[in-house]
């Protein structure tokens, strides 16, 4: 087995060496300015570059002056070709990367994009002789090989201009004066740009006939990642101020301050709705939506579910919770079980109260609609993330004659719920519900902070409207600008 694998690697390297020899010849042709019967364009000038700021690294921004023949002179420049000098080691690594791609294709049983007779086809024929397990082994060894070789890229790049070649990166239309070379941070990727390695660039002006004129070579330059994204400073300040505000009101609440929170109709109606279901002897249907357990809306919904389940346990009513996501199901089961325990009725908890349906959106809707029409629940509660299914669910619930309470942070779905449900928690009210339900002063303190933050935003917006009328208005706007 080992001999076979060594043979494979040997064959691979043999193929790679041959193909590389062809590649470098081709590159050599492009490096030299082609002799064209027509006049060569003037080259782009003053090529410069800088590390892309506020990023994770692996990226360089290039700037140049337009060729005099771009938009002027003979006006013959069609595009700019951008080249990067790479050491021989990088070229070798790229070929190993190609072979890994071929192995992946064989493992996935696909030959898409491989032309007959090509270098990739030769590799395909070599690797097709191996079993799947052997291919996995070869792939892992080659990946380790790339990882180890990448360590030497910074050193290898110091050999410029020896032992390397110019690689074409991208092309830009005439009139372009800048290019962001965003390399991949993934060492297994062919577009990988190593940080802290010397990089050299060149930009060629190209005419419609293919005549090229190269700029002066720019380099060395190194890319690196930053430890702080200055573009996001306004967010840092906002989060900092909001945290201080929250801690302040939480502490005030702990000291016994009486904090008023406006009533939420939808939440106040929950108790009445559960009472109604008890009187009618019908179940309560609780829908957590299509969100995952990582969505804040779903987490808020868990809190409300806990409250509903506790009341249901006290009133001895039936609760139905069909779920879309298996992780949400597991968490919801735990929440409901704890609520029954808190209510002193652990014996009343049934394992199938919270059950999984499907992870297909409309199949889930069909199942929930079926439950609504068969079980005729007295109350339907929709809390969490909802998408196109919101109206189908809510309208079916309305047809079934159920009292409906909904809440979502999906703006596009809020109108549908408002139309079809009796009570709707709009956006932030869904998050406030958990604090409101608990009546815990500490949680109410955080709600108070939220209210004051909203007041601050309104004041800042009004100031913005006034300031925008003056020339210096953009300074104010710039204070809040966040670049992602």
């Amino acid at each position: 087995m080992k001999v076979k694998m060594l043979l494979a690697v040997f064959l691979l390297l043999a193929i790679c060496s041959n193909s590389y020899a062809q590649d470098t010849t081709a590159e050599g042709d492009t490096t030299a300015i082609s002799v064209d019967s027509l006049r060569l364009p003037a080259p782009p000038g003053n090529l410069s570059g800088r590390d892309k700021p506020n990023d994770h690294g692996h990226a360089i921004i290039l700037d140049w002056e337009l060729s005099p023949d771009d938009g002027g002179g003979s006006n013959s420049v069609l595009r700019y070709d951008i080249y990067k000098w790479v050491p021989q080691l990088m070229l070798d690594i790229n070929l190993v990367r190609d072979s890994i791609i071929i192995i992946q294709k064989i493992i996935r049983k696909t030959t898409d994009g491989i032309e007959e007779g090509s270098q990739a086809d030769s590799m395909l024929k070599v690797f097709s002789k191996f079993s799947k397990d052997e291919l996995f082994d070869i792939r892992n060894r080659l990946t380790d090989h790339i990882k180890a070789e990448n360590e030497g890229l910074a050193e290898a790049s110091k050999s410029y201009p020896e032992n390397g070649a110019w690689l074409f990166i991208d092309k830009k239309p005439s009139g372009t004066k800048t290019f962001d070379h965003i390399g991949s941070k993934e060492f297994k990727s062919k577009g990988f740009v190593p940080d802290y390695a010397d990089l050299y660039y060149r930009v060629d002006a190209v005419t419609i006939t293919g005549a090229k004129a190269s700029s002066e070579i720019f380099g060395p330059i190194q890319s690196s990642g930053q430890w702080y994204n200055t573009y996001r400073t306004p967010v840092v300040f906002s989060v900092f101020l909001f945290t201080i505000l929250t801690v302040f009101y939480v502490m005030r609440a702990k000291q016994g301050a009486d904090l008023y929170v406006r009533p939420l109709g939808g939440i106040e109606a929950v108790d009445d709705a559960i009472g109604r279901a008890t009187e009618m002897g019908r179940p309560i249907l609780y829908v957590l939506g299509l969100g995952s357990a990582a969505d804040i809306a779903t987490i808020a919904s868990f809190t409300i579910l806990g409250r509903v389940a506790k009341k249901v346990a006290e009133y001895q009513t039936e609760l139905l919770v069909p779920t879309y996501d298996p992780i949400v199901m597991t968490v919801a089961q735990e929440v409901v079980k704890s609520a029954y325990l808190d209510a002193g009725r652990p014996d009343a908890y049934k394992e199938d109260t919270v059950h999984f349906v499907t992870q297909s959106q409309f199949a889930y809707v069909a199942a929930v609609n079926g439950i609504m029409l068969r079980e005729l629940p007295a109350t339907n509660v929709y809390m969490g993330k909802f998408f196109a299914e919101s109206l189908i669910l809510a309208e079916t619930g309305a047809l079934a004659g159920s009292i409906q309470i909904s809440g979502t942070d999906e703006i596009a779905q809020i109108p549908f719920f408002i139309v079809a449900c009796d009570y709707t928690l709009i956006g932030e009210e869904l998050y406030a519900a958990s604090a409101y339900l608990g009546k815990d002063p500490v949680l109410l303190g955080s709600l108070k902070a939220q209210d004051y933050a909203k007041a601050a935003i309104i004041i800042l917006a009004v100031i913005g409207v006034i300031v925008a009328q003056f020339d210096f208005g953009h300074y104010y706007v710039d204070l809040f600008e966040v670049v992602n």
Binding site: N54, D55, H56, G57, K109, K185, G225, Q226, W227, Y228, N229, R232, V235, V236, F242, T243, T246, S292, I296, I299, T303, G306, D325, P326, I327, M329, T330, V331, V335, K337, S338, D342, D352, H355, Q359, S360, F362, V365, A366, R374, A388, L391, I392, E395, D409, I411, I418, A420, I426, G427, E428, L430, Y431, A432, S434, A435, G438, V442, S446, I457
Partner: protein, 222 residues
């Protein structure tokens, strides 16, 4: 410890995510993809939990001869049949094919059973929109009347019929312009206000969860 360990994990994961938003440098910049991989792995295992739960609940319904036992039976049959067809295609298709390839029986189920059923459910939305619109546009109070008027102008501006009716009098697409104004200003203003509220709500909830103030999601009171 049953509550403390999840709380510690939540706090650490929450803080790492919050910090990684401001630090692009490795390893913080990779936090999302690293955690994303973990979630994908957990999700892959969790689907088994879901499937087993579905089978258990359905079998119980059949065993207890509940009213909807027939549907539970259909679920079990469809589930097993789809799995069997997938395995059959996987084993008989040869080394260069997958059970999901075009032309396989599994693909047939997907294209001619699953897709039409899904499309049918989605198409029902059109009828529900009509009934919901009727309910929404009944001018019962001031807000509903305002909605009716706004809806009239927006719909009028989005269909060529209204423009055609005005054609003998003017070439200016007044309806279209007014609909555009409603969408660009009052609607955007309202939506932005809700979005700001949602953003603050998310921030406040996240803080409560990270600080361990709110813990109801791990099965306990706040």
């Amino acid at each position: 410890m049953r509550r403390e360990i999840p709380l510690i994990i939540t706090t650490v994961a929450g803080l790492v995510f919050a910090v990684s938003y401001f630090i692009p440098h490795w390893p913080f910049g990779e936090a999302e993809s690293i955690f994303g991989d973990w979630v994908a792995i957990i999700q892959a295992f969790a689907i088994w939990l879901g499937a087993l739960n579905l089978v258990k609940v359905s079998l119980e319904k059949i065993y207890r001869k509940k009213e909807d036992a027939l549907y539970a039976g259909i679920i079990i049959v469809c589930l097993l049949l789809t799995i069997a067809v997938g395995f059959y295609d996987g084993f008989t298709g040869g080394p260069q094919s997958s059970f999901r390839d075009t032309g396989t029986s599994f693909d047939w189920i997907y294209r001619f059973v699953y897709t039409p059923l899904t499309s049918t459910m989605f198409a029902m939305l059109a009828f529900f929109v009509a009934s919901a619109s009727y309910r929404a546009f009944r001018a019962r109070n001031f807000e509903a009347t305002l909605l009716l008027i706004a809806g009239f102008f927006v719909m009028g501006g989005r269909v060529p019929l209204f423009h055609l009716l005005l054609k003998p009098f003017t070439d200016v697409p007044y309806f279209s312009e007014f609909a555009g104004w409603i969408m660009a200003y009052p609607l955007t203003a309202g939506m932005t206000a809700i979005m700001i509220g949602i953003a603050l709500g998310i921030m406040s909830s996240s803080l409560r969860i990270i600080l361990g103030i709110e813990r109801s999601h791990i099965g306990g009171g706040a």
